[in-house]
């Protein structure tokens, strides 16, 4: 097993913003094609962790290895080129461009125009947004935006996908559909999903990493995580549902 290089690995990762220790000695490993959920209360350092993996925040110390290559000192656009796709927590479509153009820009970076056209069509069909291809992204409803954002990420076909709260603000039906979509994406891509919604996590996760005050405090199956008294106390406020 030791010969298998993980798709992403962090070693003793630390970030300090002034006096705030946002990430503490995080050692995180994800295998190719694995799906991992990351949970933690507000301010646990989940978004900072994602920003580290995508080069938006530079670590104070420690290493981030993508398929064995240190990416912690790269330019902000390099992780995207290497094959790390991210859907950020804050909606970040190009509001003035159409749904089609948003996805096409992602596909076109690595493909010819003809291929990008085909991939864009297929991706929009996959996320169920093809009927809205000509709609300006800024006019979409919230759930639809999330799906287009997922489409933007998968159109570039990155081996590693990071999704920050993909089901936030969705209706129950939309959450179920998003879970289905994520499981389908996981057949070809490794995924890290940050989420708050425990029901959603039960639908998709096999393994969960718990962050608290910037540090990893536990990694286990969803059921064991949710029955752990310490986690109930810090994360669920002693009231698991």
């Amino acid at each position: 097993m030791s010969a298998v290089v993980p798709i992403i690995e962090t070693r003793d990762l630390n970030v300090r913003f002034g006096g705030v220790h946002a990430t503490r000695d995080v050692n995180f490993t994800l295998a190719e094609n694995e799906l991992r959920c990351v949970i933690g209360p507000n301010g646990a350092g989940k978004s900072t962790f994602f920003k580290l993996l995508t080069g938006q925040v530079k670590p104070t110390s420690g290493q981030i290895l993508f398929r064995g290559k240190d990416i912690s000192k790269m330019q902000p656009h390099d992780p995207g080129r290497l094959g790390i796709g991210i859907k950020t927590q804050v909606p970040s479509l190009f509001n003035g461009l159409s749904v089609w153009e948003n996805v096409w820009l992602s596909a076109r970076r690595v493909n010819s125009t003809a291929q990008a056209d085909r991939i864009t069509r297929e991706t929009l069909e996959r996320v169920g947004m093809h009927a809205y291809r000509d709609v300006t992204a800024g006019l979409l409803a919230h759930g639809m935006r999330q799906w287009v954002e997922i489409g933007v990420v998968i159109a570039a076909d990155p081996p590693l996908i990071l999704l920050d709260e993909p089901a936030a603000g969705m209706s129950d039906a939309e959450v179920a559909r998003t879970a289905e979509l994520i499981l389908e994406i996981n057949r070809q891509h490794a995924l890290v999903v940050v989420e708050h919604d425990m029901n959603f996590i039960r639908m998709i996760a096999r393994k969960v990493t718990v962050l608290h005050q910037g540090a990893v405090i536990k990694e286990d199956t969803p059921d064991r995580i949710m029955s752990d008294p310490l986690i109930q106390q810090i994360y669920l406020g002693k009231k698991p549902h």
Binding site: L105, S106, R108
Partner: protein
């Protein structure tokens, strides 16, 4: 971005109108008016250069006049030394482009914020103004071209047929050349905007962080659009020097820089045709105001800017586009009751 501005129908319409004017105007206008239209076209090219980098690239450059002035001076100095205008014409595009590339490199790769972008571009323009302004003495000359300081450079040789220095263009020829340049610049930018590069440039204006996360180096795309803008402004400067056979430091002045921004705001940010409309309207208005003594032209320009910012914030062309859009939908709606999603 505005749908009206994006559609190829509007681009084809604009080009058709442009071609009709190119062919038709010399037949119907007297020489004086034709020369007047030529300067409108020159300034429109300058307006389009800012319309591209600001409206599509999101780069608010206060120093577009620097590239414009540089184009004029490079052409003047080169043509006075070389005689034949072919190489000077090209230099007047290449030198401002290189200058823009250098300036843009410092700004974008140094990750300076938008405020500093404005400050730096404005400062560079004013430095050039002061520099050229203080070159009045006879010792300030490059080859056979005296820089002339605040007096400017008079009697600049006009463009000639490539390789034939004696075949100098007439004012009518200059109209054809200038107007064709405007149409080519418009067409070129249209094609660029709808290409991959253009879409990334627009996307970087909308959300630079997202562009980076997709794996595009936003700095390179911004630098590219800034350089293209510099090249186009340089071309306009060269044509300006040809139009009056004269150039002076005032083209580097604050008033010139501010005027370009007003054209874009009045015509419509985010379109290419808008700033042409804005430029022609304001230039025409300025020359009309110049014929009377009661009102100061700068005062009127200022008032127009305030009115537009407050009442027509999107500018002339997008507002008209919206009206046409609405009318078209109403027309279609009355023909068929089916609603489109």
């Amino acid at each position: 971005m505005n749908r009206f501005a994006k559609s190829w129908t509007s681009a084809a319409l604009s080009l058709a109108i442009g071609l009709a004017l190119l062919v038709g105007l010399p037949g119907v206008l007297d020489d004086y008016t034709l020369i007047e239209v030529t300067i409108y076209a020159v300034m429109s090219i300058l307006g389009v250069s800012l319309a591209f980098i600001w409206g599509f690239g999101g780069i608010l450059c206060f120093g577009q006049a620097a590239f414009f002035g540089l184009g004029a001076y490079v052409y003047a100095i080169a043509v006075m030394n070389m005689g034949d205008s072919t190489v000077p014409f090209l230099l007047a595009i290449v030198v401002p482009a290189l200058f823009a590339a250098l300036l843009g490199y410092v700004i974008f790769y140094g990750r300076l914020s938008d405020v500093y972008m404005g400050v730096i571009t404005l400062t560079v323009t004013l430095i050039l103004f002061n520099l050229i302004n203080s070159t009045a003495g006879p010792e300030w000359r490059i080859g056979s071209a005296a820089l002339g300081g605040f007096n400017g450079i008079p009697a600049i040789p006009t463009l000639n047929l490539p390789g034939l220095p004696d075949e100098v263009l007439t004012p009518k020829d200059l109209f054809y050349v200038t107007f064709s340049c405007l149409l080519l610049v418009y067409l070129g930018l249209r094609v660029l905007i709808s290409s991959k590069i253009g879409r990334v440039i627009i996307a970087a204006k909308e959300n630079e962080q997202r562009v980076l996360l997709l794996g595009y180096d936003a700095r390179a795309y911004k630098l590219f659009s800034f350089t293209v803008g510099g090249a186009i402004a340089g071309l306009a400067g060269c044509l300006f020097a040809n139009w009056g056979a004269f150039t002076s430091p005032t083209i580097f002045g604050l008033a010139q820089s501010a005027q370009i921004i007003i054209w874009v705001i009045v015509g419509g940010l985010g379109t290419l045709v808008g700033p042409i409309v804005g430029c022609v309207a304001i230039q025409w208005l300025t020359s009309q105001i110049g014929t009377q003594q009661t009102l100061n032209s700068n005062l009127v320009l200022g008032a127009i800017l305030v009115v537009f910012v407050l009442l027509v914030p999107r500018g002339i062309v997008p507002s008209i586009g919206d009206l046409i859009d609405k009318a078209w939908r109403r027309l279609r709606g009355s023909k068929s009751s089916e609603a489109t999603p």
